[in-house]
Symmetry: C2
Subunit: 457 residues, 2 copies
């Protein structure tokens, strides 16, 4: 990094933070229809930030749902590599609101952390990428590689708009590598490269018993309570060791090689860290795998939401006629989301007793991802980590899903570099989501180093 760039970064910190706070005030929750206008506002805000950064061809692309944002800078020359940078400006819903210690859309600084919905996932991390480009363009006046930038507003919902756009704009988005910052690093001093991500499949399960709620005095003992039937179904989806009982669920799971188990065993993240971060009383799950293996290389099935009957203050001695659950799976290579979804549906229908009606409505699906490790862009990322952090990055598989990585890998044939700047205790998708500000500032240096290293043969 040139001296002028370093000086620019040092003097522009408060402005960078102010911009992030400004963006985080927009409640761009993509899954809630009442926030559609906010998602659009967040996209407009992003186009302005890209223009300020000095990127060209800044474009707000309308879709059937939430807009996409594109920009590029293509003056590094035809022999320089082309990097596609991806981010997203939509955020998760903020509830349960009463568990936040500050309003989710009024960003609050607490020590070195900035607390707000979207702080780390993914507005903070996306802004790191933009601020790195801005620092170079505003000081050196050029970038060492050609850069394309695309961001979406449906990452937290189904991402259908970007899927359609990438499929129809392959040449426009063509790149040698894709850089995504939408994941964790193990600690503020331990850079982390993800080479595997879990896929997803999600559905809503509805159990219907009687045609309407019934008085438990009159009908208790002769009508199957929908809450009970749902609890029985849901409980049957795991055995007592934490394994998913759906027939065929693990059939396609790619086995960990001995080499990979050794690599993952070196990750300095164990049961103690997980208990500290979660506050749970004990570790749970498949005992024959380490916690790092379980969160990265094993598929899971979670009950994200569950509700039925009377849930207000007081009591209502009712037999509810209907109960529902939102269930989602994290999938690993080589599980096929459609096949897993079909197996889950089949199993639920098979378990369903004749006393209730069970229906399963698919919400979304995305396959798992695994990246090749021996690629120029990965080597450049390793060198950039060494330069900025003075240590080698850790290679990890992560439990989360970024559906777009499969899309980029398959459609563009590009090397995916997942260089996360969040922390494991950032409460992504939970109350008090935060972004560790030292990661924000040092992350900008890391991205600059990566752009510079990527230009080296």
């Amino acid at each position: 990094m040139e001296v002028s760039t370093a000086a620019y970064l040092a003097e522009s910190r408060s402005r960078q933070l102010a911009e992030l706070i400004d963006w985080l005030r927009i409640p761009s929750i993509s899954t809630l229809p009442e926030h559609a206008a906010d998602v659009h506002r967040a996209a407009v805000w992003l186009t302005q930030a890209l223009q300020r950064a000095g990127l060209e061809h800044v474009e707000l692309i309308e879709t059937d749902l939430h807009p996409l944002v594109y920009a590029d800078w293509l003056h590094a020359g035809p022999s320089a590599p082309t990097l596609l940078i991806y981010g997203h400006f939509d955020v998760q819903p903020a509830d349960p609101l009463d568990e936040w210690h500050a309003p989710p859309f009024e960003p609050t600084q607490r020590g070195d952390d900035l607390v707000a919905r979207g702080a780390s996932d993914d507005k903070g991390q996306t802004l790191v990428l933009i601020k790195a480009i801005e620092a170079l363009l505003q000081t050196v006046g050029r970038l060492p590689v050609n850069v394309k930038f695309i961001a979406e507003g449906e990452e937290e919902s189904d991402g259908e708009s970007i899927a359609r756009y990438v499929a129809t704009h392959t040449a426009k988005l063509a790149a040698d590598a894709v850089l995504i910052s939408d994941s964790h690093m193990l600690s503020p001093s331990q850079p982390t490269l993800l080479y595997g991500l879990r896929g997803m499949w999600g559905c809503e399960i509805t159990v219907r018993g009687a045609a309407h709620d019934l008085h438990s005095g009159t009908f208790g003992g002769v009508i199957h309570n929908a809450n009970q039937a749902l609890a029985e179904l849901l409980a049957a989806l795991h055995d007592s060791t934490g394994r998913v009982t759906v027939p065929g669920f693990y059939d396609a799971v790619r086995k960990l090689t001995d080499t990979e188990r050794t690599l993952l065993a070196a990750v300095p993240h164990g049961e103690r860290e997980i208990l500290d971060e979660s506050g749970a009383p004990a570790i749970w799950g498949e005992a024959e795998f380490t916690v790092v293996e379980r969160t990265g290389a094993r598929p899971t099935l979670e009950i994200n939401g569950m509700w039925g009957g009377f849930t207000g203050t007081g009591f209502k001695t009712v037999i509810p006629s209907e109960a529902r659950a939102k269930v989602s799976c994290r999938l690993v290579p080589d599980q096929d989301p459609e096949a897993i979804g079909a197996a889950i549906e089949r199993y639920l229908y098979q378990l369903a007793p004749p006393t209730v009606q069970v229906s399963v409505q698919k919400s979304f699906g995305a396959p798992a991802f695994i990246a090749p490790l021996d690629a120029p862009a990965v080597h450049a990322a390793v060198r950039a980590c060494r330069r900025v952090y003075n240590v080698d990055p850790v290679f990890m598989r992560e439990g989360g899903s970024i559906p777009v990585v499969n899309l980029f890998q398959q459609t563009l044939g590009a090397t995916i570099v997942l260089m996360g700047l969040g922390l494991p205790n950032d409460n992504m998708h939970a109350p008090d989501e935060k972004f560790h500000l030292p990661n924000f500032y040092r992350g900008i240096e890391l991205v600059i180093a990566f752009l510079e290293e990527l230009a080296q043969p």
Copy 2:
């Protein structure tokens, strides 16, 4: 019934209906603190109705929670029996509101039915008792027996105020018999006397896993999902045959005698009727008992409410940290609510895995009730049914609970007569609660006949 009384009833029908509608407009939901003033208004309304009826010593009795209402007419002479009449003016909550076809507190006539929360449970049935007294006092000018009237506003919550009042006002309330209309008759032409009621025990179960909601990508596979842990606990409370698995749950259950099984087998209410009334796809429960035995003489455990995690529109791939359920039991003779509650708590704590924390908070408890059948007041009720309906009443045990009956039986030593005027499809405690108006009008005649028969030796 004298001619003048019959004429009075015929000409006052529209006024009686208007009064009921007026009372039903008051949303006197006793379990919701925000409706406390409405419960009080419903009590004031009742004192005015009792005054119009010609009862004396009308009193609104303030308590720690919702008021009681008392009145009497004691001029039948010392040799005439004394009848205590009971009703309640509080109602169940109205949700789910979107399943009502008309607003719950805007009474709507639909054919012969009046649809409103509280229509049958218990404002409609309570008003029947008052209108019978009014018809006699306004025409004959006297009642054939001494009458005391008491009503409460906490029947749908825990009824603690009336329990304290009865315990400290035994002489004031002393009676030979107690008449309660807060139950069903099998059909509009089949009068029904209940001789058994189930007791109750209720609690709220809370399962806590992590300290806050977690990202299912980061923590899926290593932290026990609170929804899943709750589903596993709840599912473990019944076996596959519908029996409650709580150790000792059935130990104290009084066995049905052969005589009683024969009596209950004669009840013209079977699986077909239950399927018609409930709209459920199949009958559920303990196969070795008939449906009439199951709803009347077998204890049950119901999950009245259950909730945890993200339940809004869209999806949130969260591992919820907390999940809750409201669970209640219907108890039979000779189960002790406290002992059953303790057994349930013990079992839940025993089932709870080390990966979550389980807490159980008791909400309420009341023992079951069984009445002697060979008593003058019961014989009078049978004769009254024959006079007005031209058939013998059916004797049934019912699944519901009226906690106050144990109180009256034990404290006053009175014979309890449970002469219900609701119908099995009245949707008590459910959306579209209704009262069948022919039961309203004919019920008034039945109560008049009962008062007259009770005066006969």
